[in-house]
């Protein structure tokens, strides 16, 4: 079970809801992924085009825990405002703190992320900050009282996988709250790798929504996460520099 604050989940795969080709494909992908947590962004309604469909109308909202993000915020204050708007929906009290500091890399601003997390914890939110793979920042966020830490595998939407597995390992090793590897996942083996390292969950979006067949990729990601987690629980063999035969060396008849 993945436990974040007061909530527990069977699935360790968190799925973003951006950039799917259409709602039917997205709904099928969500179902195949077997995720229980869906992320959303908060944006203005188009007041002059009221009939645009919304994905929330397509799913049974009660079946999922919604994790709105503060994407679009560049300061802690902006993130707090977006978080409060999200909470006013009455649908959730978890928030993914996302304060982007650089338009080119979309890497999070560490100072503003820390400030926003502190302010939102004081407001009583369940706080999940999206952070870089900086080990000490992850520690500082945990010390504040964040309910989970979400280090990026690589920059958002790149699909580069885990570029610094050592840092992710250190973050997992030190952390007493769930670590959810967020952003940069490209293929199920990336998700499996994160889970093998001991991550408590994986959050991804573009890897599924941007795949040629998002529904099939959603299912593949489910298996990637399951396989990686099972491997972590099973305990891997130590790496060795030299071979060690798996067949018996005695009793060979041909020599």
């Amino acid at each position: 079970m993945l436990t974040i604050g007061p909530y527990s989940f069977h699935s360790r795969l968190l799925l973003g809801t951006g950039k799917f080709p259409d709602f039917d494909t997205q709904k099928q992908a969500v179902e195949k992924s077997e995720t229980e947590i869906l992320t959303f962004a908060v944006r203005r309604m188009n007041i002059f085009e009221p009939n645009q469909p919304n994905f929330l109308e397509k799913i049974d909202v009660k079946k999922y825990t919604l994790l709105p993000n503060t994407a679009g915020a560049k300061t802690a204050e902006e993130a707090v405002r977006i978080a409060k708007l999200a909470k006013a929906s009455g649908l959730c009290d978890m928030i993914k703190v996302e304060v982007i500091g650089c338009d080119k890399t979309l890497l999070p601003d560490p100072i503003e992320t820390l400030k926003a997390s502190e302010m939102l914890l004081e407001e009583g939110f369940i706080v999940l900050p999206y952070t870089s793979d900086d080990v000490l920042l992850a520690k500082r966020l945990e010390d504040l009282g964040c309910h989970a830490i979400m280090p990026g595998a690589s920059p958002i939407g790149t699909g580069l996988g885990i570029v610094n597995p050592l840092n992710i390992h250190y973050i997992i090793e030190q952390s007493n709250v769930p670590v959810i590897v967020d952003a940069g996942i490209g293929v199920p083996s990336d998700a499996a790798k994160a889970m093998e390292l001991g991550a408590d969950g994986v959050l991804l979006n573009t890897a599924v929504s941007g795949a040629n067949d998002p529904v099939k990729m959603a299912e593949a990601m489910k298996y990637g996460v399951l396989a990686g987690r099972a491997a972590f629980e099973a305990g891997r063999i130590p790496k060795k520099l030299h071979a060690n035969a798996s067949s018996p060396l005695e009793g060979m008849s041909v020599l």
Binding site: G18, T39, R44, M45, P50, L66, A183
Partner: protein
């Protein structure tokens, strides 16, 4: 009555005196809409009757796809 809604100045009929009337005027989905008036975020349960006045700045947002 003139209001600024989502950054755009709009002129609404005099009958539009509450948040609910404004949402209905623009035919917006009241279940999805989250409303802020003059930088004060409104509680969904009690927002419908919230009075609007000339010059109010209203933000109407919703959840959209995002990662």
């Amino acid at each position: 009555m003139k209001l600024t809604v989502n950054g755009r100045e709009v002129d609404v009929p005099e009958t539009v005196t509450t948040v609910r009337a404004l949402l209905d005027h623009f035919k917006l989905n009241t279940e999805l809409a989250i409303v802020e008036v003059n930088q004060s975020i409104l509680d969904k349960a009690s927002r419908d009757d919230e009075k609007l006045s000339e010059g109010d700045r209203v933000e109407i947002v919703q959840f959209v796809g995002g990662g």
